[in-house]
Subunit: 330 residues, 2 copies
């Protein structure tokens, strides 16, 4: 999502960031079925039409890729070289996961609920199908959706058609696309994308800790006009309305500060569309001729604040270092 | 557009490739007007509603970025590092340009018709608004559209909302997005994106020749499954249906060949949706265990054939060297 698209409350569908590990699967929605299986009282199989007949929820959610900010780490970790553009907000329509789980009735011995996608490939020598798990308590939370519409239209192929999981507040790896089955298991899940990928590791052999909730981040719409290749900005002097968005999966946004050449000022906070969406902010800047460095920094209700510097991690995950925008005022 | 999306006759809107030189402009469609001005009998100003009331045309068109294939040149020229994914097909709805030009009545002295977008920025030190021209005869061709819908919906911001030009058969730089005015001029157009950018140059100081029609290209849906980082493919042995698309702006596609380890075979050609769209092709391959290099090569009715090697050019334009896909059959 190019950062000027922070101007939209809802990201246009085709600008919503996309991260795929493998190819976008080719699924015929007429023949597709969702299976709920494993350690359950009743094995359940549902068609898309059957899922659409269940009571639906419509909810705006800000999603962010766990690798967002990766390119700001030195040396740059392998994988998608996001700068800061892998964040977006959409309205998702679907069925609460708990509704469907209740039909199957997971056994009390269930320790994890695994979500399997249709995407399949090889990563670091391991051929596998994309799968991720949640603990049963988390899986029963009311905000977790099995979504079949995005911004009022059937899911586009790249966003997980015909059905995907949406886990508000967590980085995007948890929101499994192209869902084919949900499996209750009685042992911890050891899938590649859970136990090897998406971990905070100091170095390659560090088992690390799992990537979970979205860390707080504020971003600004870069002001002025860009230079095509460097993306440096030229801004006319005078009053400039700086605007942007801030979000966090660990608590509500309670403060956004704007840094002008290292001096911090409180920004005005706007309304928030929903519990799991970004919040607008704005700050009027009196731009004087010369080069300046602008930044912004979010704080959430849990007291989590964006860092000015980030310790490097092997997979380049969760880098929420404050954004810096270099501008030349003329 | 990830190449597995070659499977769709029409590229889903959010998978259609996008190239922007500057920021996506923020345009209020209610206040937006199109002006037709310059060397004309009658200066014309049209609102979006007025344009929507004119007789409309609906047409599928394959577009391709002039820089597609750039990353396959060594050394890699500066600018968007496309491999081969900057090509897509959409159905565009709009008014023939000639309908609107006729309202204004260009003077006989007109030598070029210039299309101005709303996008503005700096490239190689030149602050400018994106603009491109066509000669008057080309501008009056019936297939050239002022489009306000893509795949049956209003244009998304990144695709030129509220109105864009669509020039079928030419590389995408001609299909100016976010149109604000059309200007008939009596001298050759010297705009940056016409006289400096989008030229075939042997080296930086070569004035070069303009980039115009799309050169022939065939691409295949990469078979099998990918490795996340290398995108190398693993394919199961046995009969593999290789499929893809081919297109050309210089003539209809009359032949597609598939190369298996350098030996060429004729592929079967499919139907074509329209005069300016890609054409499907398929070839059954008996895949034997081991490493193989697959390729495909298009020929058009004018006898233009994709090259196996391409002379380097400074801007990395129009590189239609045949695609090669490395697969390991197991």
């Amino acid at each position: 999502m190019p950062l000027e698209a922070l101007r939209y409350d809802l990201t246009p569908t085709g600008l919503h960031y996309v991260l795929t590990h493998f190819d976008i699967p080719n699924i015929d929605p007429e023949r597709w079925r969702l299976q709920i299986r494993g350690s359950v009282l009743r094995r359940v199989e549902l068609s898309l039409n059957e899922i659409r007949l269940l009571p639906a929820v419509r909810m705006p959610v800000t999603l962010e890729c766990a690798g967002n900010g990766r390119s700001r780490l030195t040396p740059r970790p392998r994988s998608q070289p996001w700068i800061e553009e892998a964040c977006s907000t959409a309205v998702w329509t679907g069925v609460p996961l708990k509704t469907v789980l209740a039909q199957a009735g997971p056994h009390p011995e269930t320790v994890e609920v695994v979500f399997w996608g249709a995407d399949h490939g090889i990563q670091d020598g391991h051929a596998h199908t994309y799968g991720r798990s949640l603990d049963p308590e988390h899986a029963m939370r009311p905000e977790i959706l099995l979504a079949y519409e995005m911004n009022g239209r059937p899911l586009e192929p790249q966003h997980g058609a015909p059905l995907r999981l949406v886990v508000p507040g967590w980085y995007g790896m948890a929101s499994v696309k192209w869902l084919t089955s949900i499996e209750a298991i009685e042992e911890p899940f050891k899938g590649f994308q859970q136990s090897v990928a998406y971990r905070y590791q100091r170095e390659e052999n560090d088992p690390g800790s799992p990537v979970t909730a979205i860390r707080p981040r504020a971003l600004m719409v870069p002001p002025g006009i860009p230079e095509t290749f460097s993306r440096r900005r030229r801004v006319d002097s005078g009053r400039v309305s700086l605007t942007g968005r801030a979000w966090s999966g660990t608590g509500s946004i309670v403060r956004v500060e704007v840094g002008i050449d290292g001096v911090w000022h409180d920004a005005d906070l706007g309304e928030q569309m929903g519990e799991f969406t970004w919040r607008g902010w704005s700050f009027d800047w009196d731009a004087r001729t010369g080069d300046h460095v602008l930044s912004c920094r979010a704080t959430d209700a849990e007291g989590e604040v964006q860092p000015l510097e980030q310790p490097w991690n092997f997979q380049g995950m969760g880098n929420n270092t404050v954004q810096t925008v270099h501008v030349c005022v003329v």
